[in-house]
């Protein structure tokens, strides 16, 4: 009987204890998130959003302007490339000097050789050296394609018209102009043949 009463007291005590714990826990949990923001939170948030919107607009404007500039640059590059493909360009190749154009030295004696070498390799004045390649380029432009696909000049057109209208005269003029050249060529060939005959000596023991 006494044990029963003791158990009931314990249960009652435990019930009170658990009730107290529950109350404290509920109070603690209620306080955990029961917080109020500082007054004017909404206004601050809205002001911040307005600022963000303005920033986003500015960013978009920059992005579009950059994209536009890039597009213009691409168009310019493409048009420039198309122009360079359809129009011939005079290339600035370095002029290859053939052996025939180089100054020849005749070997007679040692003194003459050195003198000739000295003349051949005499250093040019600085100004002349600097000017030389540009002048040469201007005088002898080397085309990538020859003859040039450009349209005929006025003089060429006149000439073509003359040849078409007065064909016989044109032929006569052409023959007359080429006759001295042919004579020169024939003389040259004769000279070279004669020279080669005299130079070659029979080998004798």
């Amino acid at each position: 009987m006494a044990d029963k009463e003791g158990d009931q007291e314990d249960a009652l005590g435990q019930g009170l204890e658990s009730g107290e714990i529950n109350r404290e826990l509920d109070a603690g949990l209620a306080l955990y998130a029961a917080v109020e923001p500082r007054p004017g939170l909404e206004e601050r948030v809205l002001a911040n959003l307005r600022m963000e919107r303005a920033k986003a607009l500015q960013r978009a404007w920059w992005r579009w302007s950059l994209a536009g500039a890039a597009a213009i640059a691409v168009v310019l590059v493409l048009s420039w490339r198309r122009d360079s493909l359809f129009h011939p360009t005079i290339s600035s190749h370095s002029l290859a000097v053939s052996d025939s154009l180089r100054p020849k030295t005749i070997a007679t004696s040692d003194d003459q050789q050195t003198q000739a070498r000295g003349q051949a390799f005499r250093p040019m004045p600085r100004v002349q050296q600097r000017m030389r390649p540009t002048v040469a380029k201007e005088l002898q432009p080397k085309l990538d394609q020859f003859p040039s696909p450009q349209p005929l000049s006025e003089q060429e057109q006149l000439l073509a018209r003359y040849v078409a209208q007065h064909h016989e005269e044109a032929v006569l003029i052409a023959r007359a102009s080429t006759a001295p050249l042919q004579e020169d060529r024939e003389e040259e060939t004769q000279e070279t043949e004669a020279g080669s005959n005299t130079d070659v000596q029979p080998i004798t023991d």
Binding site: I21, L29, A33, E42, R44
Partner: protein
């Protein structure tokens, strides 16, 4: 005639765009006015600092603005905003690594703020102490149990909205909150018995 029609159509499109922009702005403004307190409370429940909670609230609504185009397709705007607020606060908390750190002194103590001025001083002190004990006990809970319990303490959120915020089902929310409360009760009983 056709040009006139085109001009009218163009003006209509521009007006439509402007109206859509205005509508979206109005919707966002309405969200701010309606849910900023909830967002703040969620942020505070995670971060436990007033200035962090306010920064988190600002960041939440900036994200809402960024995802404004999705706003029309959102079914439950409150849960949507709560989910964004939760993610922002948790990210911020991870960055600061203050999830389990209880500040010793916080000038803007929420427990003092909510305490009514007519409540006797001893009760205020007792309430503050209980609040701190509960805060420490909650911080010691595993993440899985702590997260739904934290959200459950916010009176504006129903278990269904908590489930939507955390991306779990409602039954899981209920069972986790029950288990979390059980653990807290046991630990509080241990503290009382040790007194």
């Amino acid at each position: 005639m056709s040009e006139g029609r085109q001009v009218v159509a163009g003006e209509a499109i521009l007006q439509g765009v402007a109206t859509a922009g205005r509508t979206q702005d109005a919707m966002i403004e309405a969200l701010v006015r309606e849910h900023s307190r909830l967002v703040y409370r969620i942020a505070y429940a995670v971060l436990r600092r007033h200035h962090d909670a306010e920064d988190s609230t600002q960041e939440t609504f900036v994200r809402v603005l960024r995802y404004g185009s999705k706003l029309r397709s959102v079914e439950d705007a409150k849960t949507w905003v709560a989910r964004i607020a939760w993610r922002v606060a948790v990210d911020r908390s991870r960055r600061q690594d203050r999830m389990r750190e209880i500040p010793l002194e916080d000038n803007g103590n929420p427990l003092m703020e909510v305490a009514a001025p007519l409540v006797p001083a001893d009760q205020v002190l007792q309430g503050t102490q209980v609040g701190r004990v509960v805060e420490k006990l909650i911080a010691a809970l595993p993440d899985k149990l702590r997260e739904p319990l934290i959200l459950a303490t916010i009176e504006e959120l129903t278990p269904r909205e908590i489930a939507g915020t955390l991306g779990i089902n409602e039954a899981a929310v209920r069972s986790r909150v029950f288990r979390a409360r059980q653990i807290l009760r046991e630990r509080m009983a241990e503290r009382i018995n040790s007194r």
